[in-house]
Symmetry: none
Subunit: 199 residues, 4 copies
DNA sequence: GATGAATGAGTATTCATTCAT
DNA sequence: TATGAATGAATACTCATTCAT
């Protein structure tokens, strides 16, 4: 007989599941999935090891739920931005806003992003979810821009590339690893590059 | 008493160390560091498990050496390209060549790149090496371009950003995950973007 | 403080205890004691896991009660048969009837019998109960036969041996494992053997 | 990659594997399979827990090897007896010899027999092996008897039933559980019964 | 140097039993 | 009484590393 995973309905249970997820989120973020064990998750969540398996099928299941939370968090700010967008599009402003938003997201999610992204290599479900996520965002943005009159050829490709650029820069900007780089100047260059893609 | 790691001098020993590294390289590439055990590495290398610890301090030490090999491989093609570069620079040709080169490197190294990159998150030395690598390439290219008369403002930042763009695209191009993307069209857009950074 | 096990007096409670026992009986029969957990028993009984410990000291206590039920079931048919027996004894008919009865019991109880019997080895109480059961049956039958005029020497030993034979054959007959055996023919041989023990 | 189970070739390894098997044999005999854990086996064998998995795929694999040893031990004495048998068969002597042999086997193997037999209920491979064993013995004995001129009808059925009787009695005799039974007298009855099956 | 057997700490997961409600 | 969430000790199995030969 398959062990059943509890789907918590009551507030207390939801809270407990949430505490486990939070602990997983933090530990995976800070030391990575492979350097985290279930006992640590339980301890950090303030619960017993047993109950972890009441709410999750296995350790990987926690990862998958953490991924879902991350996706939710990473998704919405940019989409909100696009929702508010009205014609005519001011690409200078848009580029700035998008970069601000991306940097903000990255700032608060960088570590979990890294942790999850690093799991893509050995977990197909994680990898697939990341691809899906990119698909969804690309298409929503493309459609919105097209609806607002954007008419650059290969709009989808431009949007996708722009997203890559934004992500790549946000990462650089947050980790700020290269001492010889003037990130402010770099940001201006990136903004101009983004704008140039659409006008 | 600290066990000493041999620095192989004789040809047979060098060859043996190389075989271990090759096995590590392949296994890390294909199934990832955490899904590879030292017995597998030894077996694939055709050596005993014990001798692995004659040439390497521990499993992670193999990873670090694999990283060094990867760095070497990933490094040289672009540097060769820059070496041959002469004034006046034709940025259109250069962008094409660099992309070709990057895609080629990615094509043959994608899996190990992913594997190593995914280790960045939980191994600081790996992370540091990646950053160093970027530093070295950025500075060498910047210097070369400057020497050949490139005078765009914030040249270093432009070069670094260009590298990010190249890497990001090469990754996209090789993994080819998004069915709705016309990668040929995207490539043209990327090339133009790169050129625009310098002229 | 010792937890107290309820002795259910009210009808609802008795029914609940019975449902737990029935679930235990079925699960132990089908998958064995060690492959059954208390959550499964509770679920199959339609009660909470907690209340199981209201009616039973522990999991083993359920086993012991299941054993008692089994004993009761396995016991009565043969005893009824003996009750109806009248002098002069027709051993041919008796052998047939006893075998029929034993096979019938085995047919409907084979799995729980196996499950319980397999527990004899690691649970002394279970083992003891089986021995007691044999004692009771042997003595009751011996007494009845003696009362009806059976005068074979070592009657008790003959009865006990006959019981072993009957049990052994019923098991063979029900599980029917050996393709090369003609169980009909074997049955005739067994019947004759049984008769020969007493005339 | 599947972990490989060592097939020990050197004397030391064979000895070590044997020690593990012996420990398994004793523990399974004394407390049963389910009450034995791998750490105990390793400890009793004087080895580390890890190496147990060098010689055996898993815990069950130890059981299966213990079973094979038991089968070998239980098998040979009776077969030797039959090997030496010459026409004309003296069934009185044969019955005595077989009972002696069976009791001897049972005396030294009773506990492991119980343990293994009790596993039949939850491990199909164990169950199958027991059935095979019965098949082999029955057929070998039947053939031998037939070759020596035994001509009772349904000889195979008689042999199989005789084996059941022998086993059943050896078990009774060794465990000697029923205080009211005169096992010597019972033995005589059994012997006569066996003889009667063939003359 | 080389082998591969051996070690034993570490890990995910289960489950009998308890307890707050 | 009854619930089912919670506990945490127990367990099979793995694997980086060591060591006798």
């Amino acid at each position: 007989m398959e062990r059943e995973v509890r789907e918590p309905k009551q507030e207390r249970s939801i809270e407990k599941k949430h505490k486990i997820l939070k602990a997983g989120y933090e530990l995976f973020s800070n030391v990575g999935y492979h350097n985290t064990n279930t006992a640590q998750i339980a301890k950090q969540a303030g619960v017993s090891t047993g109950i972890v398996y009441g709410y999750f099928k296995d350790k990987r299941d926690i990862l998958l739920d953490v991924l879902a939370i991350y996706v939710e968090q990473a998704f919405s700010p940019v989409l909100e931005l696009m929702d508010k967008l009205e014609a005519p599009i001011n690409y200078y402003v848009l580029a700035k806003d998008v970069l601000d938003s991306a940097i903000g997201i990255h700032r608060s999610n960088a570590k979990i992003h890294e942790a999850l992204h690093s799991m893509s290599h050995c977990d197909e479900a994680v990898n697939d979810r990341f691809i899906e996520l990119e698909d969804e965002i690309t298409l929503q943005i493309s459609n919105k821009l097209a609806a607002l009159g954007a008419d650059a050829p290969n709009l989808t490709e431009r949007v996708h590339f722009a997203m890559d650029v934004v992500q790549s820069f946000a990462h650089e900007y947050i980790f700020d690893n290269h001492t010889y780089i003037d990130y402010g100047a770099m940001r201006t260059i990136v903004e101009n590059t983004l704008v140039a893609l659409f006008i």
